[in-house]
Amino acid sequence: MDLETLLSYEWSLMGPEFIIVIASVILTLLDLFLPKKFNRRMLGWFAFVAVLAAIVSLLGLLDNQVGSILHDTFRLDSFAKAFKLLLLVGSALVLLLAIDYEPKEGLTEYRGEFFYLFLTGLLGAMIMSSSGDLITLFVGLELLSISSYILAGLRKKNLKSNESAMKYVINGSISTAITLFGMSYLYGITGSTNLNEMSGMLRTLTDPQYTYLLGLAFFMIFVGLAFKLASVPFHMWAPDVYEGAPTPVTAFLSVVSKIAGFVILIRIMVSIFSSIPVGDGTIPMLFDLQDFIGFLAAVTMILGNVVALRQRNIKRLFAYSSIAHAGYILVAFTAMSYVMFDSIWFYMLAYVFMNLGAFAIIQLITEKEGSEDIGHFAGLYRRSPILAVTMAVFILSLAGIPGTAGFIGKLNIFLGALMVSPSHYVLASIMIATTVVSYFYYFGIMTQMFFRPAAEETKLKLPAGTNAVIIICAVATILLGVMPQLAFDFLQTNFNQFMDFMG
C-alpha cells in the first residue's frame, strides 16, 4: 500500500482516538523529562483537557454517516459514537477524582504513570467500541486489560493492592484465553475476522455440526467476556480487586471498564450470533440461547445483592453492588427488545453519574480516615450536610427510587423485558425482588450517615476536582430522573435507533 492510498482513508473519523494517543505519548515524555520536583498533578489536568478535547472532537463527528477505515478494522457508527461518548464522559470524571487522590502512603512517585496508563486504557475501550473486526476488538480488549492490571497494582507498598493486581492478572488472563478460544472457532468456521463478512457467511449455514460448534464458541466468548462485566461466573475477582486498587482505579474499573465489556459483548453477540440460524432456520442462535443469558443475569443479580448485605467495607460493598448492576443490564441484553440499545445506553449513563458521584464521596472519606469501614460514614450529616445529602441522592439513584436517573434506567429495562413476547416475567420479578434486597444495604449506609452520631466533628475539606465531580453527578442524576426525555431526545436525534449497527 503506498502513501496515497493510505492518505485516501478518512482518518478524521479517528480524531478522538488520535487525541488520546498523542496525549498519552506527550504525557509519557513529559513525565520522563520534567524535573522531579514538578508537581505531577499538572499532568492530570493535561490528561483531563485531552479527554475534553476528544469529547468535543467526537461531538463534531456526530452528524457523520457511518464510516469505516481499512475493511472495518475501524468503524464509526451510531453505536460506536453513543458508547464512546459514555466512556469519555466517565473517564473525564474519573480523572478529576484521580487528580485529588492522596492516599496515606502516597502515590507521588507513580502519579505520572497513573495518568498515561489511564489514557491508554481508555484508548483500548474506545477502540473496542468502534471496531468491526475481531482482531481490533481483541487488541482493544487487551490494551484495556493490561493497562488496568498495572493501574490496580500502583500502590506498591500496599499489600492489598499487590494482591488485587495479582488476582486481576491471573483471572484476566484465564478469561482472555477462554474468549480467544471461542473466537478461534468463529474464525475457523467462517474464515474471516470481519464481523460483517462473518455474519453474511453464517446466514447461509445449514450443517448442524457447524451450528453445534458455534454454540460452543458462543458459550466460550460469553463466559470469557463475563470477566470484564464482573458478572457471574467470573465475578470473584471484583471484590478483592476493587478493595485493593486505588480508589480512582476502582471507579475506572467499575464504570469505564464495565461499559467497555458490555460494548464488546453487544458487538460480537448481536452482529455474529444473531445471524446464525438454528433449528428450522427461523430463530437466530442468540434468541435460542436467551435462557442461558437470562439465567446468568438472574444469578448475577441475586448473588451481587445478597452478598453485598454482609459487607462492612464500603469498597467491597460497591463491588458487589456493581456486580448486581451488571446483572440488571444483562436483563436488558437478554430481552433483546427493540429498545435494548436505548435502555442499556440510558442505564449506563445513569450508572456513570450515580456511581462516580458515590465514589467521589467514598474516596474523600476513606482518604480522610485511612480505612474503608462503613462506620466512617456515621454522622456525615452532622459533619457536612451537603455531602450527606448528595451521597443520599446517589444511593437513592443506585437503589432505583423514583425521581432519580437510576429509577428511569431500571424502569426502561423492566418494561423492555415485559415488552417482548414471550415476556420475561421470571427475570422481571427477580429484578424487582433483588432491587428490594438491595434497599437493605443501600439504606444501611443512609442510616449511618443521618442517624448515627459522628465519631469526630471535624469538618471535611473538599478539593476542587472532587467538588466538581460531586456537583456534576448530583445535578445529572436528578436532571435525568426528572427529565429523562433530555437523554432520549439526544439519542433519537443523533443515533436514529442504532439502525446502522449491522450495515
Partner: protein, 175 residues
C-alpha cells in the same frame, strides 16, 4: 480415519505439548518447569509446520523457546526464590474428582464437535511466500491493530518498569 505420516507427527507433537503443560503444573522446581514449558513451545512450533505456517514456526522457536525461556531463566537466577514449592494444593479427593470430571466433560464436548468435521478442501497456496503474505496483510489491511500493538507494548514496558523498580534502594541513595 487414515493413518498418515502427518497424523502420526501431529499425535506425537500434541502429546508432547500437553505433557509439557501438565508437567509445568506438577513439577516442583522452577528450572524444571521452564524446561517443560520449552517442550510445549517447541511442539507447538512443530504443529505450525504441519499447518504450513513455517514462518510462524520459526518465530515461535525464536521468540518463545529462545527469548522467553532465556529471560525466565535469567529471572530465576537474579531473584531470591524458594526453589521448592511448599505444601500440596488444598482440597480433598472429591474436589479433584469433580475437577477431573469437568475437564473430561469439556474435552468430550469439544471432541464431539470436531472429530469428523469437514472444512472442505484447503486452499493450495498456503505455504508459498509465507512471510510475504503475512507482511502484506499486516501492513495493508491490519495497520490499525498493528499500530495499537505498539501502544500495548509501550504499556507493558511501562508496567514492567513501574512494578519491578526497587524503590527502597532509590530512597536510601537519596539520603
Amino acid at each position: 480415519m487414515t493413518v498418515s505420516g502427518e497424523f502420526i507427527a501431529f499425535l506425537a507433537l500434541a502429546l508432547v505439548a500437553i505433557i509439557g503443560g501438565v508437567l509445568l503444573l506438577n513439577l516442583k522446581k522452577v528450572v524444571h518447569m521452564v524446561v517443560a514449558l520449552v517442550f510445549t513451545f517447541l511442539s507447538i512450533a512443530g504443529i505450525y509446520v504441519l499447518l504450513s505456517a513455517e514462518f510462524l514456526a520459526v518465530v515461535q522457536i525464536l521468540v518463545y523457546s529462545g527469548a522467553i525461556s532465556i529471560i525466565m531463566l535469567f529471572g530465576i537466577m537474579l531473584t531470591k526464590h524458594n526453589d521448592e514449592d511448599e505444601g500440596d494444593s488444598k482440597g480433598g479427593g472429591w474436589r479433584k474428582a469433580f475437577l477431573f470430571l469437568g475437564v473430561l466433560a469439556f474435552g468430550a464436548v469439544f471432541y464431539i464437535g470436531i472429530y469428523n468435521l469437514d472444512f472442505g478442501s484447503a486452499p493450495a497456496a498456503l505455504h508459498e511466500n509465507n512471510p510475504e503474505q503475512i507482511g502484506i496483510e499486516l501492513y495493508s489491511k491490519y495497520v490499525i491493530p498493528f499500530e495499537l500493538m505498539s501502544v500495548l507494548l509501550l504499556v507493558a514496558f511501562v508496567g514492567a518498569i513501574v512494578l519491578s523498580r526497587n524503590d527502597e534502594k532509590e530512597e536510601a541513595d537519596k539520603e
